[in-house]
């Protein structure tokens, strides 16, 4: 079974430029998460989707960040314009939410963003 796929793996941009990250979750997983991880820290949730609905976007800086999951499968996270402080690893995760008790989140490899 393929894992969570993310692209690109690395991105270097200049500040004020736009950037987009793409995620394809594990097949059949209804729930999709976008996290931000700074060096030496744990992940911080940006947004959670249940199918195509964003059910928790309270931590998403909506002035510059946006996300979509139009068909309830893959998702795109966008930053426009990027700031120096946005440099981090952006992680995508998915979970089945199939009524099981564990509801483990499975993570993709992440996109390392560097803003110059």
């Amino acid at each position: 079974e393929a894992g969570v796929v993310q692209s690109p793996r690395y991105k270097i941009i200049e500040k004020k430029q736009p950037v987009a990250f793409w995620c394809n979750p594990i097949s059949g997983h209804n729930t999709l998460y976008w996290y931000l991880q700074n060096l030496g820290q744990g992940p911080e949730l940006l947004i959670r989707y249940e199918n195509e609905e964003a059910v928790d976007d309270s931590q998403l800086p909506k002035d510059r960040f946006s996300a979509e999951r139009l068909k309830g499968v893959d998702s795109t996270l966008k930053i426009q314009p990027a700031e120096l402080g946005d440099s981090a690893v952006y992680l995508c995760a998915s979970s089945p939410r199939d009524g099981g008790t564990t509801d483990t989140q499975y993570f993709g490899p992440g996109t390392r963003l560097t803003v110059l």
């Binding site: 729930t31 030496g40 820290q41 744990g42 992940p43 911080e44 949730l45 959670r48 928790d56 992680l91 995760a93 979970s95 939410r97 008790t101 564990t102 509801d103 483990t104 989140q105 499975y106 993570f107 993709g108 490899p109 992440g110």
Partner: protein, 110 residues
């Protein structure tokens, strides 16, 4: 607000030794996860602990949960170099939101 604290944040140990990583959390929760992260790689699920007294073991790693003390431990037995990584605990804060600890960077020297 749920807070999760791990300690130590950094641990250097010799192969063959035993050690324990601690994860404390501030409010009631019914699920706790342990993840492993290798440098430059993503997070790999190790254990899910669902109830008081739960114990899970995989190889040289054993995790336990005490919900009354709001404490989970990750015990490493006879450490080997391959276990060098950063270990995170994450607590279900309700509504399927995970609250993450800062991670414990473990270095195991030959």
């Amino acid at each position: 607000e749920l807070k999760v604290e791990q300690n130590p944040l950094f641990l250097s140990m010799q192969e063959g030794k035993n050690y324990t990583i601690y994860c404390n959390y501030s409010t009631t929760s019914d699920r706790l996860y342990w993840y492993r992260q290798d440098p430059g790689k993503s997070l790999e699920s190790l254990f899910v602990l669902l109830s008081n007294g739960a114990v899970k073991q995989e190889g040289r790693l054993m995790a336990s949960l005490d919900t009354k003390a709001r404490l989970s431990t990750l015990h490493i037995t006879a450490a080997v170099h391959d276990l060098s990584a950063t270990y995170f605990c994450a607590v279900d804060g309700g509504n399927y939101q995970l609250i993450w600890g800062a991670g414990t960077k473990l270095i195991i020297k030959p």
